[in-house]
Structures are given as C-alpha cells and as structure tokens.
C-alpha cells in the first residue's frame, strides 16, 4: 500500500457513518436500500459513503440481478497498521503521487460530467486539461480540421482556441491541414 493509499483509507475510515456501514457489512453483504433501512440514513447518503469506501479500497461491489451488492474487502483489513508503517516510501513514487493528486484536482475543478467548464487561465492547468482532451485522439492517426473541431467541441464550445493551444503546446501537430497527435 502506497502512502497516498494509506492516507485515503485512514481518511475514509474517520467517519462514523462509514464505520457503521462497515460494521453492517461485517454481518453480511448488503445493497444500498438494506443499509439505509438498517442505519436510518437516506439511500443517497449511503451511496455517497459507499462510493468513498469503494474508492478507498475498503469495499467491493458486485451486480446481482437488479441490485448492486456491497461487501467488505477483507484483504485490506488484514494488513496491520504496523506493516503499513514499515513500508518504505520511495521519493519517486511520492512525487508521482503528488503530481497525480494535483492533476486530479485540476481535472475535478475544470471538468463536470466530461464537459470542460472553462479554459484554465494558468498555463500549467491548461496543459493538464489539454492532455486530458488529447486522450480522445488516436495516436498515429491523421485528422482533418473538421474532425478535430468535432472532437474538441464534445468538451467545450470554443474549439478554435483549444485546437490552437493544442498545436502551440505540441500536443497536436499540423501539416498541410492534417492534424496528428504528437
């Protein structure tokens, strides 16, 4: 378990409702409505907490007919805290985790449900956003300008600015009206 994973897990566990959910899941696997009834919380509140628990790796989910059933992930709780503390923190992985956390923060701030809310003013943040949009382009494939515009317009209406910025940031290259991902 990396330092960041351990922090996320401990943060996630520091909440009474989530502890109550885990205690219920210790008894048996359950679906949202059952947990809501048992803990006297709304299904929306239970779903919110379960998502956090799943993201932290504390709970797994599986589909059963019409229901999504949640189960406690035993492996993660069988690791002792001392084992987690004994693990060496590698400088490289710490830096990678920091970069990834920053990247995620920027993407969460500027994207909503897959749409770009606004083009970041800061170059560093814009670069992250442009790299995210670039994931929609296949490497090695040539695109016409119209195709490029259509792909970018799925994210933001101002496809001209974004297309130009992708060229100037060397994310896309243009040659005689043909575009290609760098």
């Amino acid at each position: 378990m990396t330092d960041l994973q351990a922090i996320n897990l401990f943060k996630c566990l520091a909440d009474k409702s989530r502890i109550q959910i885990l205690k219920s899941l210790m008894v048996e696997d359950m679906y949202v409505e059952r947990l809501a009834e048992r803990l006297n919380l709304t299904p929306a509140t239970i779903s919110f907490h379960l998502k956090k628990l799943v993201d932290a790796g504390a709970v797994t989910l599986r589909k059963e007919q019409y229901y999504t059933v949640y189960a406690i992930k035993g492996d993660i709780f069988n690791v002792s805290i001392l084992d987690i503390l004994r693990e060496q923190s590698e400088d490289k992985s710490i830096q990678d985790e920091r970069d990834e956390a920053y990247r995620k923060k920027v993407l969460d701030a500027f994207f909503e449900y897959g749409k770009l809310k606004s083009i970041p003013a800061q170059r560093k943040k814009e670069l992250i956003v442009l790299e995210e949009i670039a994931k929609s382009f296949e490497p090695g494939r040539d695109y016409t300008e119209r195709e490029v515009n259509i792909i970018i317009a799925d994210f933001h209406d101002d496809f001209c600015t974004i297309r130009r910025d992708m060229i100037s940031e060397h994310i896309l290259e243009r040659d005689k009206g043909t575009y290609r991902k760098v």
């Binding site: 909440d15 009474k16 929306a44 509140t45 919110f48 449900y113």
Partner: protein, 114 residues
C-alpha cells in the same frame, strides 16, 4: 405581511441547521455535516433576495420575492437531475439539501403572505 416574521423564520431555521451541523460533527459524521452547510447558505440567499425585493418593489413583495427566488433556485432542480444521471452522489446530497431549504422557505413565505 410583517417582514420581521419572515426574518425571524429564516434566523430560526439557520439556528436549527447550525445545531444539526454541530451535532453531526460531534458525532464524527463530518462529510454529512459539510453537506448540510449548503442548506444553511440557502437561508442567507433567501434573506438577500427578500431584502432586494422589499427595497425595489415594497408593494409587490408577495409576488416579486417568489419570482426572483425561484429564478435563482430553479436551476438547482436541473443540477440535481444531472447529478443523478451521472451518479454524482455528493452533488445529489448537496442539491437535495438546498432544495429542502427552498421548499421550507417557499411554503413559509406563502403562509405569511396569505
């Protein structure tokens, strides 16, 4: 309608929600407490909107307030539906909390101007 009755209602609800937030925090349910803070802010929004309409249209505040308030809070319904569609559970809880406050405020205002 006595404006102070409406102000008194808004202040009373703020106190009640503050007490709920404190209780949740004390109970170690920080995320739910933070989500409830969104509800608290709606009472302040209602107060600002009421102040504005009471100044601009003192004779027609009974219709001007609900019109302006619903123009501000109306998009929250869309936001809730979008959040549900995308499975954004945190946003669903926030929008539901805000809309619960809107329903309380609208109902009380209608009662006071009746």
């Amino acid at each position: 309608m006595n404006n102070n009755d409406f102000y008194g209602f808004l202040e009373g609800r703020k106190k009640s929600v503050t007490s709920d937030i404190e209780a949740l925090s004390a109970d170690g349910r920080t995320d739910e407490a933070n989500i409830l803070k969104a509800k608290f802010n709606v009472y302040d929004i209602a107060k600002s909107v009421f102040d504005t309409t009471a100044k601009q249209s003192p004779d027609s505040v009974a219709t001007a307030f609900p019109a302006l308030f619903s123009r501000i809070t109306g998009p929250w319904n869309t936001s809730l539906e979008t959040a549900k569609t995308h499975g954004d559970d945190r946003k669903v809880l926030i929008e539901e909390a805000k809309l619960a406050a809107v329903a309380e405020i609208t109902a009380r205002f209608a009662k006071l101007v009746r």
